[in-house]
């Protein structure tokens, strides 16, 4: 069989959605691949993140739980899934940040039909970011403009080298932009994180903060910007002063924030202060702010919620007033939920144990290409094609611009979109 070259494929790994991946496929396997980072190649080779030589176990057959998980056919699995969801009073649809936009859309329809809850992974941080835009204004830019203009890049509560490896080289620090012709020589990088890491080496300033107390730093920065007394801050005030001085001097700053800000359930507080800080900075100079997503389509699910419900909050269809929900995360009320449909996520790994323990007690339908900690807790498990490699889809980049995900490999498994579609049809 001959080699097939797919040029300019979009990488479905993180929110960067690099669109310059050249893949050579031979006998329905990825033979070689160019421009992809180590995280991306793990995705294309179906291996563990950052360890391209350790294969991940694929779920190979639909399974339902008798005493243990047993293989079954697709129809039987769909029937069982539909029974579980139909029999539930308040099901939760969860995950979805690694699915295409159309799959997310069907999942939202399922939640609507079942009068259930719909929550994307990481909602606590993301919903608070989009909600804070209402109070503190939004200051956004496509990544091209950040690359063209920014002379100060701040990474706050995230490590792009791990979560979004090519972000530095493609979008922020190193590429040459229209007005930043020397690339990184024209820019300054700051990093704020809980522990010094690789970013320390390439940052002009590295500010270490105690986990979950970022909002205090932002408060201090705002005080300094307003030339108020900030002496009550107990941390590294010298570095903060220094950073603030530089922040007001630059012509265009960009802040990228990550999951670090959701530590200790302080997401809302941190984001609120961060947005207020950006607003304050915009009085003096130009600053934009964007989240750094480590799942490839987190942005898409938020766009979907805003489009359909005019609110970035997780959706709650259970009440009389459809979907109006003012909580950043519905997982606080997990004990009310009596069934779950989890798509492309591993809650037993990603959620704190006090929350995932509650999930153990309820029947769960899982759609995921891989075996995870969650697989063994599920009642129904569907194997699925990996979106962006074995199935087409649409994904939104971290700046809210969509790209088409291509299909480079044939797969015997259905896409999550078609599984969700079948479930949705049977619910009618």
């Amino acid at each position: 069989m001959s080699e097939i070259l797919y040029e300019s494929v979009v990488c479905p790994s993180c929110g960067c959605l690099c669109d310059d991946i050249d893949v050579v496929v031979e006998e329905n396997r990825v033979k070689s691949i160019r421009n992809v980072c180590e995280w991306g190649i793990s995705k294309f080779l179906f291996t563990k993140k950052f360890t391209p030589n350790v294969k991940r176990g694929r779920v190979e057959k639909p399974m339902i739980r008798e005493k243990t998980l047993v293989e079954t056919d697709y129809e039987a699995a769909i029937s069982r899934a539909v029974d579980i969801l139909k029999g539930s009073k308040k099901p939760l649809i969860y995950g979805l940040t690694n699915s295409g936009y159309n799959a997310q859309k069907i999942a939202l329809s399922i939640a609507r039909r079942l009068k259930g809850l719909f929550e994307p992974r990481g909602a606590a941080l993301l919903s608070s970011y989009y909600a804070a835009m209402g109070d503190s204004n939004f200051y956004v830019a496509p990544l091209e403009e950040i690359r063209n203009n920014a002379d100060l890049i701040i990474y706050w509560g995230c490590n792009p080298i791990h979560s979004t490896p090519r972000h530095l080289a493609r979008y922020s620090v190193y590429p040459r932009g229209r007005c930043k012709e020397r690339g990184s020589q024209d820019r300054v990088v700051f990093t704020v994180d809980v522990a010094e890491n690789e970013m320390g080496k390439l940052s002009r300033r590295f500010l270490q903060v105690e986990r979950g107390t970022d909002f205090l730093v932002m408060e201090t920065m705002m005080k300094l910007l307003r030339e108020e007394n900030a002496e009550d801050y107990k941390g590294d005030i010298a570095t903060i002063e220094n950073m603030v001085r530089q922040m007001t001097k630059v012509s265009y700053g960009a802040i990228f924030f990550g999951m670090g800000l959701s530590a200790k359930d302080n997401a809302a507080k941190n984001i609120e202060n961060l947005m207020a800080l950006v607003k304050e900075l915009n009085r003096k100079t130009r600053f934009v702010i964007l989240p750094l997503y480590d799942d490839f389509n987190t942005s898409g699910v938020i766009q979907l919620l805003i489009r359909e419900l005019k609110s970035p909050m997780p959706a709650d269809f259970s009440g009389d007033h459809v979907a109006k929900n003012s909580k950043y995360s519905l997982l606080e009320n997990l004990h009310e939920i009596d069934a779950a449909l989890v798509v492309g996520d591993d809650p037993f790994w990603s959620l704190p144990s006090e929350k995932s323990d509650l999930l153990k007690k309820i029947p769960m339908v899982l759609i995921d290409p891989y075996w995870t900690r969650t697989t063994n807790k599920a009642q129904v498990v569907f194997p699925t094609a990996v979106t962006g490699i074995e199935a087409e889809g649409i994904a939104y980049r971290m700046d809210g611009l969509p790209l088409k995900l291509k299909k480079v490999l044939e797969s015997e498994y259905p896409s999550d979109e078609s599984i969700l579609g079948d479930i949705y049809q049977r619910l009618q």
Binding site: S32, N35, C37, E38, R147, I161, A169, R170, Y174
Partner: protein, 153 residues
């Protein structure tokens, strides 16, 4: 040449950390890579029982030295494929219009450095600035590598 790793060389060292050469064995392996020392600088390796190791080390290192026209040493273990080196390389930028703007070089673009299968690869050492004695010595890729995967002789 890019495949040489410190651990690979360390395997053939006596691992005694006697520091007769001035370094620990790991340190010695590191300097072997950067060509700051030769295998013969280790007194143990000159002893007969290590003769096989010595031959092997020289085989690993020997012919490479000539090929190392750039003095670039890449530790693939450390590389995470972030592509910073590809973007900052001046020659890459001259050779591919894509690179300057942060995009990866096109499939048929002939560049010096590119990310292949998630790791950095020196595909055309001849074109590297360091291979050309008349141009000034460039250190961009090594200096800006966040994971220290690239070092220079």
């Amino acid at each position: 040449m890019a495949k040489l790793s410190m651990y690979q060389l360390y395997h053939y060292l006596p691992k005694t950390d006697c520091e007769k050469c001035g370094f620990s064995c790991m340190g010695f392996a590191n300097r072997l890579i950067s060509r700051d020392v030769r295998p013969e600088d280790c007194p143990f390796l000159l002893e007969p029982e290590y003769s096989e190791s010595l031959t092997e080390l020289n085989r690993l290192l020997g012919p490479e030295v000539e090929k190392e026209i750039t003095g670039l040493i890449i530790d693939q273990e450390k590389c995470n494929g972030c592509g910073i080196c590809v973007t900052v390389c001046e020659v890459n930028m001259e050779k591919s219009q894509e690179v300057g703007a942060g995009r990866g070089p096109g499939f048929s673009d002939e560049v010096v450095l590119r990310i292949d299968n998630g790791k950095i690869k020196l595909v055309d050492p001849q074109s590297c600035r360091r291979a050309n004695p008349s141009s000034h010595i460039c250190r961009a890729c090594a200096e800006l590598c966040p994971t220290k995967a690239i070092s220079l002789v």
